[in-house]
């Protein structure tokens, strides 16, 4: 019995409530506040669920980490809500030759493509914009991602997901004036974390507003419609 526990401990599958040990299978996200809370950063492999409205800075939060981890492996965007802008990726330092964009014809194909990319070992990160996933699908992604040494970001809309899915890390994002508000309802080897703010004002000065929000100008709506 002791042997099994020792084995599980070695594989980092048992969590002790006292004394959080820093996880060594993570890499920094590029945002210090975020890294501190996550004991080092985002995981290098496995599924990460991200619930966020589109356009509040969710990709800006993830891309520095993805770029650093890529190391000549592929980054795959599956079923993005709009076209991915090459200019943005380029300015972030991505090698465009190592970027694939997949526009699947159906939800089934999207799931299949995601699993193939994850288990191939040729990709370092797979970003999949999905609606809702079932438990067994997420389990398959998790196994595939571990086989392929790949991290899978599941980007979901902000709809309250009634069903909890078995992911090692779940992140909820909401907009904030000077960056992004993050709460972590679920993570492996740690307590859930209440909402905290990731300040992006040094990385994205143009896309933050100083906390005293008095310089906001109200803008007229288009009258033509």
């Amino acid at each position: 019995m002791n042997e099994i526990i020792a084995l599980l401990q070695r594989k980092n599958l048992v969590w002790h409530a006292k004394g959080e040990k820093p996880n060594n299978d993570v890499s920094p996200s590029g945002y210090s506040a975020f890294d501190d809370k996550l004991q080092g950063g985002l995981p290098n492999r496995g599924v990460v669920e991200i619930s966020s409205p589109t356009g509040i800075g969710e990709l800006r939060l993830l891309l520095p980490n993805i770029m650093r981890q890529a190391q000549e492996r592929l980054t795959v965007f599956i079923h993005p809500p709009a076209f991915i802008n090459a200019e943005h990726l380029h300015s972030q330092g991505f090698n465009l030759n190592k970027v694939l964009i997949v526009f699947p014809n159906s939800a089934k194909e999207a799931l299949w493509a995601t699993e193939q990319c994850l288990k191939s070992g040729a990709c370092s990160a797979v970003l999949f914009w999905c609606q809702s996933l079932e438990v067994h699908q997420v389990r398959r992604f998790q196994v595939a991602a571990e086989n392929g040494n790949c991290v899978n970001f599941l980007l979901k809309g902000e709809q309250a997901n009634a069903l909890s899915i078995p992911v090692p890390l779940s992140i909820q994002l909401s907009p904030h004036f000077c960056g992004i508000d993050v709460s972590i309802p679920k993570r492996r080897g740690g307590y859930p974390l209440p909402e905290f703010t990731v300040d992006m004002s040094s990385q994205w000065p143009s896309l933050t507003i100083a906390s005293s929000a008095d310089n906001i100008l109200l803008f007229p709506i288009a009258k033509a419609v």
């Binding site: 802008n85 990726l89 997949v102 143009s206 803008f219 288009a222």
Partner: protein, 466 residues
């Protein structure tokens, strides 16, 4: 010494396009040289000959059928012949564009002598109705030389063969013209004279290629040849004792076929990526079921699971009386390199992954990204063939959204402008000019948007700083 048989097909393309109208003069012209390379009997009657130009030929005969020479056609035909010959002889090698070399020696035990072997081969080959010349010799090069000049004898008599070879002048050989001239100047005009010189002497006076030629011609040197192995294909048919009317019941007899497939693949240590199950119906057209597995499987159990999924969804119109299983895509088993400590890791290469994705989703579903120098935002970032993006532009310093809408949409949200304007006025040269003032704005929901105002003061949403 090994005995070789060379088959030379002088009019291979002509044979390939052979039609019923035998009396029609047909010629095949090599466009680059403007020379006739093949012609049929009807054309020969009109006095057409090899090497003639197209103009001369058409002046000799008005209703000439002219075809361009296509090397691929001959190559394909050659493959077909080799495949056909594989039933009677084992070691087959290609001499493109129109020759096949057979190693005879190790077939003689089976056929009990050269005569029997040649009889079996000739009967088998003549069923294809190709014109061919043939010759045996104790080296591939000699056999080729004899066959190409229409020696048409099958013999293992060394004296006869040597005599035959010695007759040829050097110009008939594959030697480069320069070497032939050099030899002529020294008084060597035919092979007899060349072969009488000891190899050591040749090596002293001429270059290594001539030494190789002589060595290979006499069979003293090894002539490297690659032997043809026919593609592996599995095809078995199973007649059913009773007609089956329910698609679900097909699984049982199918397992028998799949077990045979497993044996076949295991013996060869291969996997199959695709199998086709054909259900032959009694009163309706055959149903073809294509079942594919990206990583390739060999076990019957895996294929049974995969085919069960497909069988669930089909409907049989009429009773099925037999099943055919065909595995055409057979590939070597890819060895999964397992690290002792980190366990199994995927080891597909990016290109393999790409081909797997493209095979299933279609080519249009997978895109790569590339940058162009165009200043119009929708043209700066463009899709390209995946993994081929070669842009080495460096556009730095401009703040651009990560998500771009395929086409700009009317702005519907209430937003507050944070930064801007940035005027982009360009594209006047190709009829799609834009004059836009771009702003960075934040919507009430906290979304960072990239919006623009056109000249008519209409507002559009173009992207999001996701």
């Amino acid at each position: 010494m090994t005995l070789w048989l060379y088959l030379h097909f002088p009019v291979l393309q002509l044979d390939a396009i052979y039609s019923d109208h035998n009396d029609q003069p047909v010629i095949i012209v090599e466009a680059k040289k403007n020379a006739i390379v093949q012609f049929n009997k009807a054309a020969a009657v009109h006095g057409i000959n090899l090497g003639m130009g197209l103009g001369t030929a058409s002046s000799l005969c008005a209703d000439l059928h002219v075809h361009p020479y296509q090397a691929e056609v001959e190559k394909e035909k050659l493959l077909e012949i080799a495949h056909w010959l594989y039933a009677v002889t084992s070691d087959i090698s290609f001499f493109e564009p129109n020759g096949i070399l057979l190693r005879v020696s190790n077939m003689l035990t089976l056929y009990d002598g050269l005569d029997n072997y040649w009889r079996a081969l000739n009967t088998h080959l003549s069923q294809l109705k190709n014109h061919f010349y043939y010759a045996t010799a104790y080296s591939p090069l000699a056999a080729q030389l004899l066959a190409q000049s229409g020696f048409n004898q099958v013999t293992d008599n060394k004296k006869v063969l040597l005599n035959a070879i010695q007759q040829y002048s050097l110009t008939k050989t594959t030697l480069p013209l320069k070497t032939v001239e050099k030899l002529n100047r020294t008084g060597v005009n035919n092979l007899k004279q060349l072969l009488s010189i000891p190899i050591a002497e040749i090596a002293k006076r001429f270059d290594i290629s001539l030494v190789n030629f002589v060595g290979r011609l006499t069979g003293k040197f090894q002539h490297p040849v690659n032997f043809y192995t026919p593609p592996v294909q599995f095809k078995r048919c199973l007649q059913l004792l009773f007609d089956i009317e329910n698609a679900q019941w097909i699984e049982r007899p199918l397992i028998r076929l799949l077990n045979k497939l497993e044996d076949f693949l295991t013996l060869r240590d291969k996997v199959s990526h695709e199998i086709v199950i054909t259900l032959h119906q009694r009163d309706a057209a055959d149903i073809d079921l294509l079942i594919s597995s990206a990583q390739g499987d060999s076990t019957a159990d895996k294929w049974r699971k995969l085919s069960a999924l497909t069988l669930e969804s089909i409907k049989i119109e009429s009773p099925v009386h037999s099943i055919t299983l065909c595995a055409s895509q057979v590939a070597p088993r890819s060895i999964a390199e397992v690290d002792l400590f980190s366990g199994y890791q995927g080891n597909t290469s990016p290109l393999e992954l790409l081909s797997i994705l493209q095979a299933k989703l279609g080519k249009q579903a997978i895109k790569g990204l590339t940058l162009t120098e165009d200043a119009r935002p929708e043209l700066t970032s463009q899709f390209c063939e995946p993994l081929t993006s070669a842009s080495n532009l460096s556009i730095k310093g401009k703040l651009r959204p990560s998500l771009l809408l395929p086409t700009p949409e009317r702005l519907m949200d209430k937003v507050s402008v944070i930064q801007g304007p940035e005027r982009i006025a360009t594209g006047w040269w190709d009829g799609r000019p834009i004059v836009r003032d771009y702003f960075i704005a934040r919507s009430k929901q906290g979304r960072w948007l990239w919006i623009f105002k056109n000249q008519k003061k209409e507002w559009f949403l173009h992207g999001a700083f996701s």
